[in-house]
């Protein structure tokens, strides 16, 4: 299965980025083979609005079945849900640790936005 993880850096040892829309990178991992690819999301860091939506649509483009992140706002949630991507919330840790927690079934699935959106 393919999973995307929000990351502050470009390796599996980087820390999970708890923000979704303004995460620095997405690490897309194939859980069977362990192969991963890093996708830059930094153009979203300075987005005036709609960072969550854009990030959501970027993740949709990664062809993953699940996303592991810290927080998801309502608009990003709507996009990810519409694309059928399941969202799992992880505590602080590295990308590799978060992935392991996911494999061990320790992460809760997020069934609604867990943070408020920005007004605009």
């Amino acid at each position: 299965m393919r999973v995307a993880i929000t990351s502050q850096g470009e390796s599996l040892e980087s820390r999970l980025d708890r923000r979704f829309g303004r995460a620095a990178f997405f690490v897309a991992v194939n859980t069977e083979t362990g192969e991963f690819a890093v996708h830059d999301n930094t153009q979203n860091l300075n987005a005036a609005q709609g960072a969550g939506i854009q990030a959501g649509s970027n993740v949709v483009g990664l062809n993953v079945e699940a996303l592991i992140t810290g927080n998801v706002g309502p608009k990003a949630y709507a996009v990810l849900k519409a694309a059928g991507i399941r969202i799992y919330l992880a505590p602080d840790g590295t990308v590799a640790e978060s992935l392991q927690r996911f494999k061990d079934g320790l992460l809760d699935e997020c069934l609604s936005a867990n943070v408020a959106g920005h007004w605009i």
């Binding site: 005036a48 609005q49 709609g50 939506i53 854009q54 649509s57 519409a82």
Partner: protein
């Protein structure tokens, strides 16, 4: 002739100045419209108590996608700078509250799958308070797109006399939209360190606008050389100093205008107008 009354933040007495200036001009037998563009929190009506004769709803155009016609090509989503429309694998999602109504997505859709539909954002009220014409915009609760509604208010100014535009506080899009095509810019500030800071932000924000401008200091209780220095650095005159006066606050708490409650006000606004009028008149001409 349009005179904008603006301030770097709320609570400086901007509405006080706008309302009292309007009343002074009406009293001087001029044709005057008070236009409340502070659409997030219009409060001019609380003082003017106008009789509203015309109310209309104001809308902006947002995209609506016909899924039958859409081939999910992605063009609309790639065009939109505001992430208000995104193309997913099986559907196109829209976020009307983020849409700036540029029409671009409908334009780039090669199969005409997008129609632009009305989305109501607020209302514009028209009426009068005695001889004063009154227009006010009020954004619906939860709406964030002030500028289109402000433009709707400004479009409704049909009067050829003097319009006093009560602008939203601050230096962002709504404020700039309201003051943008006025003939004179009256900035209201308090002579406190915070007030001075907000005034400086405002002077910077309007720096590239062409119209003449002046400052009114409100609630003045002593000398303030720092704010004088700031104004002279920007080459903006201080036109008037409205003294701190308990009676103004008392009048407010009763919903009265300072104009009626405090005798000195008439002379104060007469003096202020005598400084604005020739400059604004020259700019218009």
């Amino acid at each position: 002739m349009k005179i904008a009354v603006a301030s770097g933040k709320g609570g400086t007495g901007k509405t006080t100045v706008a309302v009292n200036l309007s009343l002074f001009l009406v009293d001087a037998d001029l044709k005057v419209t008070y236009a409340d563009c502070d659409v997030e929190e219009p409060d001019g009506h609380l003082f003017l108590k106008p009789e509203i004769t015309l109310k209309h709803r104001s809308a902006v155009l947002v995209p609506q996608v016909n899924p039958e016609a859409c081939n999910l090509c992605g063009e609309c989503g790639a065009f939109c700078r505001y992430s208000a429309i995104v193309v997913l694998k099986e559907e196109v999602m829209t976020f009307p509250e983020l849409c700036h109504s540029c029409g671009g997505c409908a334009y780039v859709c090669s199969v005409q799958a997008i129609t632009e539909v009305d989305r109501y954002i607020g209302s514009v009220d028209r009426g009068s308070a005695g001889k004063l014409n009154f227009i006010s915009g009020c954004l619906d609760i939860g709406q964030a797109m002030g500028p289109p509604l402000i433009k709707a208010v400004l479009r409704n100014i049909t009067d050829d006399g003097i319009t006093i535009v009560d602008a939203p506080p601050g230096t962002s899009c709504p404020a700039m939209t309201a003051v943008g095509d006025c003939d004179y810019l009256l900035l209201v500030a308090e002579p406190t360190p915070f007030g001075r800071h907000d005034l400086e932000l405002m002077l910077q924000a309007v720096g590239s606008l062409p119209m003449p401008r002046g400052v009114v200091l409100n609630r003045v209780s002593g000398p303030d050389t720092a704010i004088e220095k700031l104004c002279s650095r920007y080459g903006v005159p201080i036109l008037s100093r409205i003294p701190e006066d308990r009676r103004v606050a008392e009048a407010y708490s009763k919903g009265l205008t300072a104009w009626k409650a405090v005798p000195g006000y008439k002379a104060l606004f007469a003096d202020l107008w005598s400084k604005i009028e020739p400059v604004a008149g020259r700019y218009t001409a």
